[in-house]
């Protein structure tokens, strides 16, 4: 919403500089996003053309003799419209103006043009920066005061404001005037809207009937005859332009002007084109259509409210008129509509028709049904004044939705309870009165407040509390801390686990990533070939890459790895802890916290210390083992076949009988789907919901061993297919084996074909005594026999 300061001054005295006023408005809720200054015209004044003489040296140039307060200047002028008697903007030598060709600011110098000295310049709108017009000079109204600086006469500041959706009243200059008045303690005066009603009674000439009062609480109309269509006055055109609207004609301009002035959209029909001279407001019937003034033929549906004449729709209520009844140059009589429509219905219709206008933007915010009357009177007054029309008697007023105005009760106690600071009753009363409210004392510390009709946002006492706070100013509110008791503490173990997991992985040298929750079917399919979960889809995607709610963290993580490997010399190690979304019938999806990590490239950053090789399955496993060990969860790993992983190079992560997740080297097909060139790419994934209960089991302290351990190394030859973990767990079954470490795995010539050698270091230890060699030997004998029996293991020679 734009409001020129000069226009605001019609209703309220503005005492502050524009920037100060803008600041106060902003602090009080109407944010002034910019101030456009019109003017800054130094050495340009109002002059009068007193004579025109031909230029002795050029046919197309004239000499304009301009009087500026008694002094006369000769200006060489090429404008076709310059004429004797005109008041014009006259630039003295030294003034700055905009070059009409380049748009650059240049300084006017004394020059001779074709042999005649030009002592100044008569300016066009473009030269003054008011508009683009440059066909001729700007002709000022006859009452423009001579020799007054143009800044004083035409200078202005236009406030551009972001109005919040609850304040449609501030989509009007009068609404802003009320704000400015209350903020500066100035009274507001609204226009006197009386006019002559020389015609016959309007109600006899036309009829208005509201069929669907739920969607149209009120419809006011006036009639004007003997209308002469023409341009509106210059001042009105300039105000419309300043507010970003295009001047069209006296009638149309008035409807727009009054909309900007009062916030009430209006529509002027060519009354002669309304069949049977009647208006009916009803829902559209199936199959009805209307060609709107933008010449588009629009199908209407029964949930849309339309304005009809005796034959059918002539306008979509509050949104756009029909071209058949549009005001044209030949129009001589007008039916002027000023109505109130249901905000929600109008918003739906404008969304359906994809038609949003200045009018619909106001209607959809919920205007007061009291507003149409003053607005229609104001518009009728201006139309009659500018078009010479005769106004019919009275206003046709169909008002089925009239409600009794209710008063809102406000106590000083409530103000203090909400704001935390007492405010005197007198001060509360003054703020409310300044804003147009009528606070009547009702008891010692209470007001019964009548709400002005244009403040449709005020319903509750707390709404009034805000009025008080924003006008008094939030700077007066002190800073305190809540004083009450703290609520009972409820821990969030999942959040704690997530933080712990992230911290451990960061410690393992992994970088946390945060990727998008929305992905594509293609990416999900590429990352999880053979997966069958149908993800949730958004109905209104922005891009095809983000259309489905992810059921896996893999796609975006692999995309991030792919994008990074292209510029990373060293390895890429990324992890993400986030939700996946698993659809459920008739309910919100199950949002499951997952962990996924990906790594590829060199094991260590390139350095002079030498190469440590490429990461592989066991790097990923090492990270998973570190994580789980740190969380106190003992896990098993089982060879697993998954389409996403290379055959034989993936494992399921198991713990306490549940599957926690998976890890492995990516199948080349998956890597290719994400255009990843590194080989191998390792991925791990853990379901944190399954992990969580395993991490919360309490731990118990084990006394530190007091007696020394005896270390023995053994190398066992077993079948190559036998998992090392199976052998290890047999050894760990020995009551004296305190620690078992696999330190070498060998397959090759020095063991029989199909066999492998596993070398373990065993620390034998007893919590109660120092073991003798003999005791250790005996235990190891027993162990070797069991290994032979249960794992077919032989001691390697």
């Amino acid at each position: 919403m734009k409001a020129p300061l000069s226009w605001l001054k019609d209703y309220v005295k503005i005492t502050l500089p524009p920037t100060d006023l803008a600041h106060r408005l902003t602090m009080a809720g109407t944010e002034v996003s910019s101030i456009e200054t019109v003017g800054g015209w130094e050495h340009i004044v109002v002059g009068q053309v007193v004579a025109i003489e031909p230029h002795p040296g050029a046919d197309r140039l004239k000499l304009a003799i301009v009087d500026v307060g008694g002094e006369r200047f000769t200006s060489v002028c090429g404008a076709p419209n310059v004429d004797v008697g005109q008041k014009v903007p006259f630039a003295h030598i030294g003034a700055q103006f905009l070059d009409p060709d380049s748009g650059a600011l240049i300084k006017l110098k004394k020059t001779r043009i074709r042999g005649v000295e030009s002592q100044g310049m008569v300016c066009s709108e473009r030269e003054l920066g008011i508009s683009d017009r440059h066909e001729g000079i700007l002709v000022l109204p006859d009452d423009a005061p001579l020799n007054v600086p143009l800044d004083e006469y035409l200078g202005d500041a236009i406030l551009d404001m972001d109005v919040t959706p609850n304040r449609p009243d501030c989509l009007s200059v009068i609404g802003i005037a009320w704000e400015a008045g209350a903020l500066t303690g100035q009274a507001v005066s609204v226009p006197d809207v009386r006019y002559d009603e020389a015609g016959g009674p309007a109600e006899q000439a036309a009829s208005v009937e509201i069929i669907d009062p739920d969607l149209c609480p009120r419809y006011c109309a006036t009639l004007l005859t003997n209308v002469t269509i023409g341009p509106s006055p210059l001042w009105m055109q300039q105000r419309l332009l300043a507010c970003g609207m295009r001047p069209i004609s006296n009638i149309v301009d008035v409807t727009n002007y009054v909309m900007l002035e009062y916030g009430q959209p209006l529509h002027a029909f060519d009354f002669d084109k309304l069949a049977q001279r009647r208006i009916m407001v009803r829902r559209a019937r199936p199959g009805e259509r209307l060609t709107t003034i933008d010449d588009i033929d629009r199908p209407l549906t029964p949930d849309m409210l339309v304005i009809c004449d005796g034959e059918g729709p002539v306008a979509v209520a509050g949104i756009m008129g029909g071209s058949a009844s549009e005001v044209t140059e030949g129009t001589t009589s007008i039916l002027l509509e000023s109505a109130n429509f249901n905000a929600a219905s109008l918003r739906r219709t404008s969304a359906r028709l994809k038609l949003r206008s200045e009018a619909s933007l106001r209607f959809e915010k919920g205007l007061s049904p009291e507003l149409p009357m003053p607005a229609v009177r104001r518009a009728t007054q201006l139309m009659a004044r500018f078009s010479g029309a005769t106004v019919a008697g009275g206003v046709i007023d169909a008002y089925p939705g009239k409600k009794n105005s209710e008063r809102v009760s406000l106590t000083a106690r409530r103000v203090e309870k909400v704001l935390g600071i007492p405010i005197e009753m007198d001060r509360i009363g003054k703020v409310l009165s300044d804003l147009g409210f009528d606070p009547q004392p009702a008891g010692a510390n209470e007001y019964s407040v009548a709400v002005p009709y244009w403040r449709t946002d005020i319903r509750l006492a707390d709404d009034l509390v805000e009025e008080v706070a924003r006008i008094v100013g939030y700077d007066e509110i002190p800073t305190t801390l809540p004083s009450g008791a703290l609520p009972e503490y409820h821990p969030d173990p999942m959040r704690q686990l997530r933080e712990q997991v992230s911290d451990i992985l960061v410690g393992c040298g992994m970088q946390e990533a945060i990727t998008y929750s929305l992905t594509s079917l293609e990416a999900l399919g590429g990352a999880l070939p053979g997966s069958s979960i149908a993800p949730l889809k958004v109905a209104n995607r922005i891009t095809a890459e983000q259309e489905y709610l992810r059921t896996s963290l893999r796609p975006w993580l692999l995309q991030a790895l792919s994008a990074n490997e292209k510029h990373e010399e060293d390895g890429v190690r990324l992890f993400e802890v986030a939700k996946v979304y698993l659809p459920r019938d008739d309910d919100l999806p199950r949002e499951v916290q997952m962990l996924a990590g990906v790594l590829c490239g060199p094991r260590l950053d390139r350095s002079w210390h030498g190469d440590a090789g490429q990461v592989d399955f066991f790097d990923a496993k090492g990270i998973v083992e570190t994580l789980l060990a740190r969380l106190g969860v003992a896990a098993d790993f089982e060879l697993a076949e998954q389409e996403a992983f290379s055959p034989g190079r993936a494992a399921a992560i198991l713990a306490q009988g549940s599957r926690l997740g998976a890890l492995g080297e990516l199948h080349p097909r998956v890597a290719e789907a994400f255009e990843i060139s590194s080989q191998p790419v390792c991925l791990f994934e853990i379901d944190l919901e399954t992990l969580l209960p395993m991490t919360t089991t309490s731990r118990k302290y084990q006394p530190v061993a007091r007696y020394p351990a005896t270390i023995r190394d053994i190398a066992l030859v077993v079948d190559r297919e036998l998992p090392a973990a199976a052998v290890q767990s047999i050894i760990e079954g020995s009551p004296l084996a305190a620690q078992v470490t696999l330190f070498d795995v060998y397959t090759g010539d020095r063991v029989p074909a199909g066999r492998k050698s596993l070398a373990f270091r065993i620390a034998y230890q007893s919590p109660g005594r120092t073991l003798t060699d003999e005791q250790v030997n005996k235990e190891q004998e027993k162990l070797l026999k069991r290994l032979q029996r249960e794992a077919g293991a032989t001691l390697r020679a």
Binding site: M27, A28, T164, P165, N166, A343, A344, R347, K365, G366, K417, V418, L419, G420, L460, D462, V465, E466, A469, R470, Y474, D475, I477, P478, T479, T480, L481, P482, G484, A485, L486, P487, Y489, H490, D492, R495, L505, C508, G509, M510, Q511, E512, A513, I514, T515, S517, L518, L536, K537, N540, Q546, A563, V572, K579, L588, L604, D605, S607, W608, H609
Partner: protein
């Protein structure tokens, strides 16, 4: 025997003086004092001597032994001191090129948004707020209806929404556009006093550019009790701003509109770059808007069966990315979720 002992003593002490390093010294110790050393052999042979002789030789042997042991200890200490001296003089020491890089250790980091979220939550935790989380896919009811934003309300324009493509159109599902639905969910489940912060992802159906993302993080705050006031909101946010942005920060409230609070405000801090004088960061205003807030709307309280005559509350919601953007001068919000290591590594 005594004579033999005397010879051993003088030979050993003679040799001792000429020993130049610790290896030779160790050999010397083994030779004389070791298990099979000369002196040990003498002592072992004592048993074969007659009693009177045994006494004299024994005493003498022990004397020699302690003499040699002392000599060994002294020589050892002297060699150590010589070695230190040599080290300090830098004789024959291979010097490291200490400018060579150390052995690489893989370095991980938390995402800057996670770092900021933790910081925010920690501050509010210290102010007595508990951290809770909620669903990102929400019902229209929690995201809009219960927050005074019914269907076709103009405030819906403030929240461009991703809708879930679902069969049942009577119960629309969406990606939450703010963390505010958790205000309702928390109050539905508990009675006052309530004091929570809600971090989480939110979504907007918006074309992305340098200042807009379709997914970002918010932190919601809610406090409801019998005596919660706007002054408490201001004080709480003031304490927060000082801890996050520095002790000397000032806060400013300005009237703003959110349908689920009344009064509604937005909070700004004075610009930490120019100290409020006005610069590019604060668009010349001296103030940086940080969050929206207000007193919980009485209709919202009524909806969860809290009596607004008894209970009042404040709520606030802030965008998280904006904070590292301001702090580090990041000029494009899209950098956060593109996960480029060259970006992430800087935090």
């Amino acid at each position: 025997m005594l004579e033999e002992l005397e010879q051993t003593r003088s030979r050993a002490l003679d040799e001792l003086g000429g020993l130049a390093n610790s290896n030779d010294l160790e050999d010397w110790r083994v030779r004389y004092l070791g298990k099979k050393g000369a002196l040990t052999l003498v002592l072992r042979g004592l048993g074969r001597l007659p009693l009177d002789e045994r006494k004299a030789v024994g005493a003498s042997a022990n004397q020699v032994k302690s003499l040699l042991e002392q000599g060994y200890a002294d020589r050892k200490e002297a060699l150590k001191q010589e070695a230190y001296q040599e080290l300090e003089l830098g004789v024959a020491v291979e010097k490291l090129d200490v400018t060579l890089p150390g052995r690489p250790v893989s370095l991980g980091r938390l995402h800057p948004v996670t770092q900021t979220l933790r910081e925010i939550c920690d501050i509010f935790a210290a102010l007595g707020f508990q951290v809770v989380e909620g669903p990102e896919v929400e019902w229209d009811y929690y995201n809009f209806e219960a927050l005074n934003i019914p269907a076709d309300h103009p405030a819906r324009d403030m929240f461009s929404t991703f809708w879930i493509d679902a069969q049942d159109s009577s119960k629309p599902m969406l990606l939450r556009t703010h963390t505010s639905p958790m205000q309702i969910r928390v109050m539905e489940k508990t009675r006052p006093p309530v004091r929570v912060v809600v971090p989480g992802k939110v979504y907007r159906y918006e074309a992305t550019d340098a200042t807009h993302e379709s997914m970002f993080y918010q932190v919601e705050g809610l406090a409801v009790d019998e005596n919660i006031t706007l002054a408490d909101l201001k004080g709480t946010l003031f304490a927060f701003a000082k801890r996050l942005f520095g002790e000397q920060r000032k806060v400013r409230f300005r009237c703003d509109y959110f349908p689920f609070v009344e009064p509604g405000v937005d909070m700004a801090i004075d610009c930490f770059l120019c100290e409020g004088k006005g610069c590019r960061l604060c668009s010349g205003t001296g103030w940086i808007e940080i969050l929206g807030a207000g007193m919980v709307h009485p209709d919202v309280l009524r909806r969860v069966d809290y009596d607004p005559e008894v209970y009042t509350g404040f709520a606030f919601g802030m965008g998280v990315e904006r904070i590292p953007m301001l702090r580090y001068g990041i000029d494009d919000i899209r950098l956060f979720y593109s996960n480029d290591l060259r970006f992430l590594r800087q935090f």
